[in-house]
Amino acid sequence: MAKPIDQKQNFLKGLIKENPVFVMLLGMCPTLGVTSSAFNGLGMGVATLFVLLMSNIVVSLIKSQIPNKVRIPAFIVIIASFVTVVEMVLEAYIPFLYEQLGIFIPLIVVNCLILGRAEAFASKNDLASSVVDAVGMGLGFVIALTVLGATREILGNGSLFEFRFVSEEANTLILFILPPGAFIALAYLAILFNRLTQKVA
């Protein structure tokens, strides 16, 4: 690229202007699937952030060595390797989270956010920019998933991070814990998010 990238802008775009969940609507499968509680959302977000960061670093480092025609399979192998590492480490050291996230950990491989950043950003930019991009995008994803998980947990279960503020017998809006609630909550949060950021921008 001819002119140097403004790193602050590069970082902030992942959080706000190009927020992967609320603006670009990328990676919907884990977003809708695991966010039944704030903790699950946070765990999934951090796992994705790690994979995104590592894949961006590696792709950015070896980008000149990858022939153009086989770049997608090369990226996928790199991403899948890091996902498998995450899976093994979670199973060994945080078995609780491993059980909760279940099938969604291997599915990080096909999260289009990660391949998207590898293809659209890391394969065209230098290492430093790619790291900043991954951290920005990843944090945007973490925050979005945690907020979505927190919203659904508060409405559907009357608790936040497992801390209950209603009794176990109380009637909560169970709908929000169920899959349809994920769509409803995501839609309203996206509206809210875009409203707020429009005013800023």
């Binding site: 990858i66 153009n68 093994m88 169920l178």
Partner: protein, 198 residues
């Protein structure tokens, strides 16, 4: 640096190198995590045992009896507990495939006369907020100190004694079936564990 040409040779070599590096590093990480993974699994079983059994001073994890179940894919494990060579109870795993979304696995602790001491849910994929309440104290309370000989492990709707979870009758049925299966295994193997000379 200039981008590599997409010639057949380049493509084959690059993909080969990438897959080789990926394969070897995964093998390495797998080796590293093999032991902690086994330890984590064992810790889970031990924690469940501690919750459902009375005080014991043998090693149920070592003395476990595994039974092949005919029609199920899973095997049943019986963990006998002894205190100074006296049989004080056993923890038995139960399993049902009839959950709302898959398997329900339980560990049921029995006292020597067959009363349920406590139940721990080992594995379930039920609906969050509905079926997952089977892990809750409010639901589990009804099983404590009940003997399945007299306490019919069936949902009230099906003529049994189990209070179903609100909105999760299917999950409750699977839970009851798993508990019943654990009790059956306990009964058929009771003699061999109580009489085993130590």
């Amino acid at each position: 640096m200039k981008k590599k040409e997409s010639t057949l040779f380049n493509m084959v070599v690059v993909l080969l190198i990438i897959t080789l590096v990926a394969g070897f590093s995964l093998g390495y990480v797998n080796d590293l995590t093999l032991e902690p993974k086994a330890r984590a699994r064992l810790a889970r079983v031990e924690k469940a045992l501690g919750a459902v059994l009375p005080q014991f001073n043998n090693k149920p994890v070592v003395e476990v009896i595994r039974l092949k179940q005919k029609e199920l894919r899973d095997s049943t494990s019986i963990y006998p507990a002894y205190m100074d060579s006296t049989f004080v109870g056993a923890a038995v795993t139960g399993y049902s495939e009839k959950g709302y979304s898959g398997i329900v696995r339980l560990m049921v602790g029995f006292s020597p006369d067959g009363h349920i001491r406590d139940i721990v849910v080992l594995e379930q994929k039920e609906t969050p907020g509905l079926g997952t309440k089977m892990k809750g104290e409010k639901f589990l309370r009804q099983f404590r100190d009940k003997n399945p000989e007299t306490f019919d492990l069936k949902v009230k709707k099906d003529g049994g004694d189990v209070d179903a979870l609100a909105g999760a009758t299917i999950s409750t049925r699977a839970f009851s079936e798993a508990a019943q299966q654990a009790f059956d295994s306990f009964l058929t193997n009771k003699n061999s564990i109580t009489n085993s000379k130590r």
